[in-house]
């Protein structure tokens, strides 16, 4: 609507409220991480650090096995992401390209899992990993995550967005299923596949609950678990350091998001491929 806009402030209230509630934790985190102990105690809700200090970051990098956690997190996130994107694309292509009985039913049933509490889902997987002897190893974290319903769903949507005549043209030119997948489908869904890959990576990087159950030894911890150690030791004197860890934990996801914003947004927008 490129039309006149009443300057009615009432309309902006929910907007401002929503934006504030979304942004407040980030601002708080960033500012606290640059505050020293005194500032935190004297003015907890004051958003600005005077003067800003890097002490918290120095403490984190010196007194804390930060890079071990980064390595653990990165290993798990990378492997999970590679597996998930591969299975998502292949399964999605099979869902779109082949006709088989009960296709829609299987697909819809698969979406069920989005709506079940994570706490419910975790128990059976925990049991399975325990039987397989994978508790307290990165593999125990990775194995139940090599396929992802949301990923299949998003990739199926994207593949369905490819105009059918493109696939039919390839078919008429004599291409088989593998040819169509590699020469037509993959190049066309690349932006969305990249977006979903990033999404998977960030999600896995940030994951807290499942690694917490599987990983018991501190040296195997991922960053979100390590971060939680500070919160549990709810002492106040650790707040600044905790927020510095939080900042460092968030840096990679945020950078990935900022650089790949375009891909991510357009995937969510289902803009798909235009012939």
């Amino acid at each position: 609507m490129r039309t006149k806009l009443d300057k009615n402030i009432l309309w902006h209230l929910p907007l401002i409220l929503a934006v504030f509630l979304q942004l407040w934790p980030i601002i708080f985190m960033a500012s606290t991480s640059f505050k020293d102990m005194n500032q935190i105690f004297t003015s907890t809700l004051n958003p600005l650090p005077f003067p800003p200090t890097l002490n918290n970051y120095v403490a984190v990098l010196e007194d804390f096995p930060f890079w071990t956690y980064v390595y653990n997190t990165f290993l798990i996130a990378t492997l999970v992401t590679v597996c998930k994107i591969a299975t998502s694309v292949l399964a999605a292509f099979a869902f779109v390209y082949y006709e088989f009985k009960g296709k829609e039913t299987i697909f819809n049933f698969m979406l069920l899992t989005f709506f079940i509490p994570i706490t419910v889902l975790i128990m059976p997987n925990y049991l399975l990993m325990s039987k397989l002897g994978l508790l307290n190893t990165p593999w125990g974290v990775i194995l139940p995550q090599i396929a992802d319903g949301m990923g299949i769903f998003l990739m199926r949507q994207t593949i369905r967005g490819i105009p059918k005549p493109l696939l039919e043209a390839a078919l008429l030119e004599g291409a088989g299923a593998i040819g169509i997948l590699t020469k037509v489908v993959l190049p066309l869904i690349k932006p969305s596949a990249i977006a979903v890959t990033i999404f998977f990576f960030i999600h896995s990087w940030n994951e807290y609950f499942w690694p917490l159950l599987v990983l018991q030894d501190k040296e195997n911890y991922t960053l979100p678990l390590a971060l939680q150690m500070f919160i549990s030791a709810e002492g106040g004197s650790e707040w600044g350091i905790a927020m510095a860890v939080a900042m460092l934990t968030s840096v990679l996801p945020l950078l990935l998001y900022l650089f790949c914003q375009k891909y991510i947004l357009s995937t969510f927008l289902q803009s798909g491929v235009k012939g």
Binding site: P165, L172, E173, G174
Partner: protein, 364 residues
């Protein structure tokens, strides 16, 4: 023999039959246009030839062999899609050679064919462009190019001009015919545009509601429509269809009584009601003593010609096209026609009942 033959072909989706029962053949090397309103089954018919739709019943022969179960890639078909279906991530050159690579042609042969095709279609110099960098007309030519490099004996086109504007469309029609003359493939062209059909086709197959209505030359489709559907689908404005009573050697239209031409006696014999079909440009405006008196109720000026709507006493309308601007609407008292310009249809079924045996002067 690269001909195509439909033998009792039907197409059903679940319970709905969309193609009733097709029986016709397409000759090797001819330009056949499948014409009809949207939803008439013309695209489904084309897609069955391409193998993109399965045939529910009956047999489809291509080059003498049944192809019902043959995969699209094995039918040796080139097809141009309505939205061109160019691969957006590939350059013009890659689009054109896509199929040739799969066919594992030698690099040399591939380059030769592609260059030749690009030249014919005036696309030399555009090899490295991506589809999105091309205009609509260029995209359409690339799609044609991709089809002709395959040198397939069958050439299918699904409304290939519908995304072009009027000027380009006219030009593309001519190019398309020229292109066909070079390679002489068996060409099946789907369109809903009667002007395209009339100008491109050697034969037109008119479909309606999944049934073939008539398959004949443009000439005959226009002047000797097989039934009232064809008569009213072709022509702008379409053929005037007037209900008429017959008694002895007279026919009654509106409140006019017109002597029946002797040549028609045998054809009409035994019928008391008929439908008389006359093309608007064959109706002659009459100032004095018209065969059928009528009043002018509306005039449209199209620049090069006028369309007058005449209303008979019984409220039937007759459209008359005329280039003659001197006869004003006010002085028009009705219209006349020549018996050799008339088609006659059965009153109930709408089927053409035929023409006098002695060619009475039908133009060409």
């Amino acid at each position: 023999m690269k001909n195509i033959e439909f033998k009792a072909v039907k197409k059903k989706y679940d319970e709905t039959t969309v193609i009733q029962e097709l029986n016709f053949s397409i000759k090797e090397g001819e330009r056949l246009v499948l014409l009809g309103p949207s939803g008439c089954g013309k695209t489904t018919t084309l897609r069955m030839i391409a193998g993109l739709e399965e045939i529910s019943e009956g047999q489809l022969f291509m080059g003498g062999a049944v192809v019902n179960g043959v995969a699209p890639g094995k039918r040796n078909i080139a097809m141009v899609f309505q939205n061109y279906a160019l691969f957006p991530h590939l350059s013009v050159w890659e689009n054109i050679t896509f199929g040739l690579k799969i066919q594992k042609l030698t690099e040399q042969e591939m380059t030769k064919r592609a260059k030749e095709a690009l030249e014919i279609l005036n696309l030399t110099g555009y090899e490295n462009r991506k589809p999105k960098e091309l205009s609509g007309g260029q995209k359409q030519r690339v799609a044609l190019c991709r089809a002709i490099v395959k040198q397939s004996p069958y050439f299918l086109l699904d409304e290939p001009l519908s995304n072009l504007d009027a000027q380009l469309r006219q030009q593309a029609r001519t190019e398309l015919v020229k292109l066909h003359e070079i390679y002489k493939p068996t060409m099946i062209y789907v369109t809903h545009d009667q002007v395209e059909a009339m100008t491109i086709a050697q034969r037109i197959a008119i479909m309606n509601k999944g049934e073939l209505q008539q398959i004949d030359t443009p000439e005959n489709i226009y002047h000797r429509p097989a039934n009232t559907f064809v008569a009213s689908f072709i022509g702008t404005p379409p053929m005037n269809l007037l209900s008429a009573h017959v008694r002895d050697h007279w026919i009654f239209i509106g409140d006019a009584c017109v002597p029946l031409d002797a040549s028609w006696d045998k054809v009409i014999a035994g019928r008391s009601r008929i439908i008389l079909g006359i093309r608007p440009e064959k109706c002659l405006l009459a100032g004095e003593k018209p065969m059928v008196p009528a009043e002018v109720s509306y005039v449209e000026n199209l620049g090069s010609q006028r369309t007058l709507r005449l209303t008979l006493k019984n409220h039937e309308n007759v459209f008359v096209s005329t280039k003659d601007f001197t006869q004003t609407a006010n002085s028009t008292k009705g219209f006349s026609f020549r018996w050799e310009d008339v088609s006659v249809f059965d009153y109930k079924t709408g089927v053409n009942i035929g023409y006098p045996i002695k060619e009475g002067g039908k133009n060409e």
